[in-house]
Symmetry: C4
């Protein structure tokens, strides 16, 4: 089962510098800005992120060479004017006089490796931490909301690529190693750190972030209840079949409603 | 112990098409609309439902042949104008130009099989998921609030009726299989999916949904505390005796107060 | 260690009927009404009670023969005009045309048996349920906030006094059995039902209710973390020594502030 | 690894009484007052403290001889006018007619022993209690947010210094024993009581308090998921390397935003 296309192709970022230069003078689309700001609010509301974590999206103006992501700010404080345009080497093309997220390479390197990915979330969602640190634990789909976990959830060990670090994906090299560990999957756990999710839209990636966390909580309870016994997960076929449907737009419509109405 | 009548009788839905046609031109009673909208809000407030899940009630105008349920919308966003009239085959008689819940067959097929049931809730309440997936786990009544669990809580394995699916009860056939698994009980767990509760009123069904979830949380804690040792549940007789009383109206009065006052 | 006086004395309720009759025509003190209403709000805010549970206090006008408690209402909805005066046999002296709590005998019978007790809380606080149902579990003081648990926490098995029931303390007989199980302690757990706490003031009893629940949560975590190994509780001497101090008024001042300010 | 300077030096508090006397007539800086009040609100908001717990800071006007801390009040109720100036023997130099925190010696004695420490939090944060009471449990860094735990987290057993007490650090002697147990570390757990955190600023100490609690929750889950198996913590080198960075100011900016906007 592959969530992504079979053969990831590295986007020829260098070859399109001209386009980048051009679009940097225009503004991102209002839709993308609004959705990205809303996504930041939703991720904060559901404790997927706290002061840390970020979400990016390929820039509609030049999706192969640029992505959008907030400058160095807690997600809960992000507004449209804080959205920076980055090239795929994660250099800021706007807001160049302001501090940027040190882990932006997570986004750029995944976009390079995964042409099918439109949006990336990086977070420290608490319930996912145990699955990256307890030896032998595996995050697996408990319900049809989490079919995207059915293809497997790899764990990124930063020591393999970087030895003893401060755990942060601070370089293109470390970002590339993370993208390679992610492979064609939807979610990669990061040992002693957090997780990264990808999807075909801001909405899908936010959905996967929220429901990965949700799945982790329920799975921990199921293992405890089973007391060492078996837990029945979705089969691979069930996972694949449950990937479609109206789950993402329905969730997004509710979350948008909640964020707007203050719930 | 039976929660339902001994002999479920299939309602002759076809035979009453005329009545259906007639009543579809009138409006559902204001009481039913108000209660159903409030029920949606309560279920959302207590995290019984999130963007998913639904509640139905037999239509007072023609309870044998029609039921009411919201159109395809997150429960937290439902208003009176979103309430659709369905026939017992789960065809919409109103709002026919709008998308409907794909799992409405849960409701129609249970109403057909269980003349004693007036209202049905379907949800993905998180704490119930482990009881449907951890092998050998059984949801049992921890306190007198949950006597309705005392008669047993069957688990619906969709693979038995549908093989490998997307887990959704998308057809009358799957809905009928669920109704059969439910039998004369109050709650049926759905492996890798959620749960469905029934009751003699909107109020009772909402109560059972909230307290099933509540019971699950406490029961998981009790098993963990017992560390493999015994947990003392309500006996069958205690369960039966605690079914009456003023629990349902008292809870409903509080919840109505909370939803109105914003708590 | 005794929380109560050594020799419980049955209050001669019958002998003072005249006084009762007299005071029923006056009004409870504003202080007691205000504190009791506030206590209801606090217990609801901290999920000690939901739609169920109640708190009583000996009536200042005739503390040996009367107590005050809300009529049959969810605690979160109680106002001063809902406070009923009861005699010690739990007959209402006011609001006689309205439904009363069926478990009011918990309060009357404890007041009869425990002259040192001024206020009683009955609740279904969730984290306490496992300690009354998991065989061998014992609620014990994790910190100095819960020294009142150090003298022991008995468990009331209603089957001993009433056989198979609906679990409710609906009669003076069952209330008396509960009071006897409580003995001179501060808290009694009720199997398959909830718990009852007593104290020398409304404030102290509310404090004990909130912190019993709190202790239960932490103790369950400690046992899980110890994984079958030992947990170090407060010693009897530490429990006794930590009973005094300013804990109760400090908590009450905060809670009053929160309830008033809406937090 | 040392969080503090290698050789703690006892501040010669007595020798500077004149300075103390002088500064007591001026007012603390507005910055320190504002930050300290905000810190109280943040600690309350995140349930690090409830009605109990306190935070102090060395007084900018005379950091070697004085510290600032609220008078005897629940943290959630503290305003600028409640901030008391103390000497290092924990005598109040202002608000002398009002009750003071009985455990203020925690702060004074740590300031004496640790010249590198600018701010101290004492709390009863619930998730930390199990780590101080379950035999053999050790709080260790789950992620790079908690590198400050990597140097070790000692446990203070008050029985060693005070025998059977009411668990409170009511004297300079007990405070000194706590400071000695803390040593050069960032956090000390207190058996049957709570924890104390130190840092180089109000912001850092609040950060450590919030994330110690957070780490405890995740670590308990990881041990449960590992079911007795191994959990991979940050290595000592990873802990040390992750100590720097922008974590503290970023968190503080969010928390300040939340407290101001009411979130």
């Amino acid at each position: 089962m592959t969530v992504a296309a079979k053969t990831p192709v590295k986007t020829p970022a260098k070859a399109q510098v001209k386009t980048s230069a051009k679009t940097a003078s225009s503004k991102p689309s209002k839709t993308q800005l609004d959705d990205l700001v809303l996504a930041n609010k939703i991720l904060f509301h559901f404790n997927v992120v706290d002061a840390f974590g970020h979400i990016s999206v390929r820039d509609d103006r030049d999706p192969q060479n640029q992505y959008l992501m907030a400058r160095h700010l807690p997600p809960g404080m992000v507004t449209a004017k804080d959205i920076v345009t980055f090239d795929m080497d994660s250099n800021p093309l706007t807001h160049t006089d302001m501090p940027q997220m040190s882990e932006r390479f997570i986004h750029g390197e995944i976009f390079k490796m995964r042409p099918d990915v439109i949006s990336v979330v990086h977070c420290h969602a608490r319930p996912l931490i145990p699955f990256g640190t307890a030896k032998g634990a595996k995050l697996r789909p408990m319900t049809h909301m989490c079919g995207f976990l059915g293809c497997g959830v790899p764990i990124y060990e930063i020591r393999d690529a970087g030895g003893m670090t401060d755990m942060l994906v601070r370089t293109a090299l470390l970002g590339k190693a993370l993208a390679e560990t992610l492979g064609d999957k939807a979610v990669v756990l990061m040992r002693g750190h957090g997780a990264t999710m990808v999807g075909k839209s801001i909405q899908e990636t936010v959905f996967r972030a929220v429901y990965s966390m949700d799945n982790a909580v329920v799975q921990m309870q199921a293992h405890a209840l089973a007391a060492g016994g078996e837990v029945e997960f979705l089969s691979l076929e069930e996972s694949e079949k449950s990937l479609g449907g109206r789950n993402v737009p329905r969730s997004w419509s509710l979350w948008k409603h909640q964020m707007t109405a203050g719930r």
